[in-house]
Amino acid sequence: MKYVFQFGIVWDHLPQLLHGAWLTIRLSTGAFALGFVIAMLLAFLRTAGPRPLRAGIAAYVEFIRNTPFLVQLFIIYFSLPAIGLRMEAVTAALVGMSLNFSGYATEIIRSGIEAVPRSQIEAGYSLGFTRLQIFRHVIVFPALRTVYPALASQFVLLMLGSSVVAAISAEELTAITNTLQSTTFRAFEFYFVATGLYLLMTIGMRLLLHAIYWAIFERSRPAERAWSR
């Protein structure tokens, strides 16, 4: 065995890798934002909507959670054009990631909603709140605080899972790495560095998510503050 590792060439292409990493971050945060909005809506309807709709949402969630993301991506990118729905690779990646995330997030948020004590909801009704008002003013904040760690882990999984969109050639970090290694024949070195970049992004995102939790839920606890005033 005579293989000499050469990381210099990876260093030369670092700007391209970072460019890919930046798309990974944009795709992940974009899919998080879109998926979160969808999931909030679905979680509300899943717990308070009409019965057939609840069943439909449950089926959607089970489908997303029991099929591979890669296959969902193939359906969006390769199958949908057959019925006239054609998308760019990056758009398809964003749509696929958003829908995938929404499936997991719906279930996570639902568990948070169900953990809100019933007495608080009844207090809302006795104040004459509508369902939507109760959701908005009584349920959302504590429910999201309860499930924040689970949502944060799911976000990291979303970002790591985004490497799979290279399979439909959306030019994020993994796809860029694939291209670079095939032209330089330094596969191991490139994948090693790209893996390191993913690890850095994971650590960075975890720190950021901690900071966001602190800013939203710890710094200002309206209820406790009102109580101890």
Partner: protein
């Protein structure tokens, strides 16, 4: 002249589903052994062991499984000097991946056992290894069953990624069939249905086991 999607094509997909199952089971069993070692190391009293296991788990859970797959594939090629077939790389990568996740799940289960159980076992007196073997692990095992079964679903879905380096399991077989039939509208949804048929019963079983064990442990259920 393209082929239609008919029985032979469907049977080809079913045949490939077998490799999805085989790969998942190998990784699950191999990862189970590795995960047990990791969980014990992660909860041991030796700081270095704890740190090593934590680092391994942190790296594996902090990087994409696709990258781990590429590294295993090209890493083995570098070691052996030849471009190898995907089998060893795929089984190695998914086993290491499963070990990290199972190790973390089981660490949680071991930590969930009250400290008094260790103390009682020490008072009998059992040696530390025997405390773990006869008192802690049997109880931790019970708590760990539902998330372990749940992880199996994650693993089965994850093996679809092996298609990207050319390992012919269900997803790759679907791509091959699409290439000859030009019917992605039929094939990919069907692939999804096949995965669903495999994974959903396991998910339901995990949920059921969780409810039963929670009930046995007296944990209150939400409706």
């Amino acid at each position: 002249m393209s082929r239609d999607f008919e029985w032979p094509e469907f049977l080809f997909l079913l045949g490939a589903l077998r490799w999805t199952i085989v790969l998942s089971l190998i990784a699950f069993v191999g990862g189970g052994v590795g995960g047990l070692v990791l969980a014990i190391a992660r909860t041991s009293s030796h700081a270095i062991l704890r740190w090593l296991a934590a680092t391994y788990i942190g790296v594996m859970q902090g990087t994409p499984v696709l990258m781990q797959l590429f590294l295993a594939y090209y890493g083995l090629a570098v070691l052996t000097g030849i471009r190898i077939d995907p089998w060893p790389a795929v089984t190695l990568a998914f086993t290491m991946y499963a070990a990290a996740f199972l190790g973390e799940i089981w660490r949680g289960a071991i930590l969930a056992i009250p400290r008094q159980q260790w103390e009682a076992a020490a008072a009998i007196p059992l040696a530390p290894a025997a405390q773990l073997r006869y008192v802690i692990l049997p109880q931790a095992f019970r708590i760990a069953i539902p998330p372990t079964v749940g992880f199996l679903v994650q693993l089965i879905k994850g093996t679809s990624i092996a298609s990207i380096i050319g390992f012919v399991e269900l997803t790759r077989a679907g791509q091959l069939i699409v290439n000859v039939t030009f019917q992605p509208m039929v094939v990919y949804p069907l692939i999804a249905v096949l995965y669903f048929a495999l994974c959903w019963p396991i998910s339901l079983a995990a949920l059921r086991l969780e409810r039963r064990i929670d009930a046995a442990l007296g944990i209150k259920q939400h409706p």
